[in-house]
Amino acid sequence: MTTTRIGLRQRLGPAREFLRGHQSLSITFGMAIAAVVLPLIVLIPPFNGFGTQKDFVGGFADAGVFVLLAIGLNVVVGLAGLLDLGYAAFFAIGAYTMAYGASGYSGLDTPFWIMIVVGAFVAAVFGLLLGAPTLRLRGDYLAIVTLGFGEIVPLVFLNADTYTNGTNGITGIAQPSLYGLAGINGFGFTNPWPYYITVLLIITIATMLVYRLQDSRLGRAWVALREDELAAASMGINTVSTKLLAFAIGASTAGLAGVFYSAKLASITPQQFEFQVSFTALAMVVLGGMGNTWGVILGAFIVYEIQSQGLHQLDAFAKSLHAPPISLGPITLDLSTINFINYQYLLFGLALVLMMLLRPEGLFPSRRRREELHEAAAEVEATAADAVSQT
């Protein structure tokens, strides 16, 4: 077994080398494969029993929104090591920017393609406004300030009803338009394909940018800060502006995701941006592997599909079994009455705790992050061993 493995590795050597050297190319290549394979997989059993291909493609486009959120949050949490618990706020800001830029409510009709940039910019500005004063504080204060911010933003959208239509939200948001270009079928509720392609393009570009950032001077500064803030500062890294950039880049990605989300749904309400969204995005990042962009993309996709498809199918499956209720003393276990969808956040919570305890580097770890997260434990062991050897 081992010999063939090494042999394969050697044979693939040049290809691996090439792909590693041309990261953007390999990202494009990978995304293109995913773009073709995903809609085909759902045509084979058992997936074809769960819904039509169209439903699945629409679902993948929604998953893309969360993938984008996870990519952005990963820059903040995974690369720079800052815990942002109010990430949904920037998502909301992007979504409402789109709603103001192009909807019957505001009377404006700015093209979606311009709003993507505007939304990302507005969210980044809010990121800077929140980050500038608070990033000077130590890490856990940032967590609580972002948590507070994440609570305030939906509250403002809810309560400032003169400007936001309150709890009813904004409806009639314009859908993207290609202006009859290339004769492609337009974006619409009945045609999810253009959304699917668009979100994949956005994800591809975002991933390329993040990988390039990661290998840049700024990316190395993030890693240095995350590993040892004091040492990084004494090596001449401006800690505040470095953190601020991570924060703003993360916020702009969320803003971008918000613009797409709002254009796809065509109507948004403040309730869509509550803490659960931030929490889900965090779970995606932690499960995927903090600091590893492709791992996080995969993690986000899996978590989203579990949330939107997996639990529903499990529910249907459990009911289809018609299993008789099992009596365990005072507790009766009846599969057909359990609503598995209700358990999703319990599962995410458990997943977060278990991951941090057992595999803090995530399911698809980045090598560097794994070493870092195990370093502390190794140090403790080393000192213990030291103490033993001295006695």
Partner: protein, 333 residues
């Protein structure tokens, strides 16, 4: 005959704050000013009780225990469970029975939640004590969701009514009329706070807690059992939050699986306001938050009261991260 202002500064500031708050309530609520004032004190007492647990835990292991708000929520569900199991539906007339039931409810909720707090520390925080800072913060937020959703899937996803066992009668002291429940809550909260202060300042275990907070390794060298001291801190903090949960039930008569999140955030604001790690500060901060919230609604901005509290949190962290009473813990990076 110079007055020693150093010593009296605290009480003067507190009295000044209370007077100013009362004046604002007279302006905004007129004849209802007194009720509003008592209401603010009562709500503040709840926040103060929760804030104490936050500040104690932060003081000793420098961790924001996000699950703390959920401990408060679970406390209210313990009281609901106990009171409905015992078959009470409304006010209890007999003072002896009432007293017995109150003591039983508080002790049950405090002990149960104290144990839950210790278990959470043991399972989710202790193994990560030497891990990077991000790790325990993430398990804390995970724990918070676990507790919330355990209640959600096992008990109820909607508002749960808790029997209000205290009679809704007012007691009058001269010009002051105060409902029994308000008086009870305020006195109880102050009593628990004083007991905590005495415990922390005067007992051996309290001294162990203070020394662990100050320098864990040095304390260990002096023979303090660090693990059990931290567990004790979690027990006391969680028991106080459990007591706050019972008060929530007695005062508002309702609870919900999601109340812990916002209450926790407000209590954390209180803890930061008072200077995190500082128990007196947390208690004062709790009352300040109570007043901010009640004042916001008495000026007709009730919908904005939460935004006002979180806005306060952000402003305090920006301009005075050490809190009003000041603490050396909040170092600037």
């Amino acid at each position: 005959m110079a007055i020693d202002f150093g010593r009296w500064r605290g009480p003067i500031v507190v009295a000044g704050f209370l007077l100013a708050a009362y004046a604002l309530m007279v302006v905004s609520a007129g004849a209802q000013a007194q009720d509003q004032f008592i209401n603010a004190l009562t709500i503040g007492a709840v926040y103060a009780l929760i804030a104490l647990g936050y500040t104690m835990v932060y003081g000793i292991i420098e961790l924001i225990n996000f699950a703390h708000g959920e401990i408060f929520m679970c406390g209210s569900f313990v009281s609901w469970w106990l009171l409905t199991t015992l078959g009470f539906t409304g006010a209890i007339g007999d003072p002896l029975v009432l007293g017995g039931v109150l003591v039983l409810t508080f002790i049950t909720a405090m002990v149960v939640m104290g144990i839950v707090g210790v278990v959470i520390e043991r399972v989710a925080y202790r193994p990560l004590r030497n891990a990077p800072r991000l790790a325990p913060l993430i398990t804390a937020i995970g724990m918070s969701f676990i507790l919330q959703n355990i209640v959600f899937v096992t008990i109820s996803n909607s508002i749960v009514t808790i029997p209000q066992i205290l009679p809704n009668t007012a007691l009058t002291f001269g010009p002051i009329a105060i409902r029994q429940i308000n008086l009870f809550v305020i006195v109880l909260a102050l009593g628990l706070m004083v007991a905590l202060q005495v415990f922390v300042r005067r007992t051996t275990l309290g001294r162990a807690m203070r020394s662990t907070a100050m320098d864990r390794e040095a304390a260990q060298l002096m023979g303090v059992d660090i693990n059990s001291t931290i567990a004790l801190t979690f027990f006391i903090g969680s028991a106080l939050a459990g007591a706050a949960g019972v008060v929530q039930g007695l005062y508002f008569g309702v609870t919900h699986f999601q109340i812990g999140f916002q209450a926790g955030l407000k209590a954390f604001t209180a803890a930061v306001l008072g200077g995190i790690g500082n128990t007196t500060g947390a208690a004062i901060g709790g009352f300040v938050i109570g007043f901010i919230e009640v004042l916001a609604s008495s000026f007709g901005y009730g919908r904005w009261s939460e935004a006002a509290v979180f806005g306060t949190l952000i402003l305090v962290l920006i301009f005075r991260p050490t809190g009003i009473l000041g603490q050396q813990l909040a170092d600037r990076a």
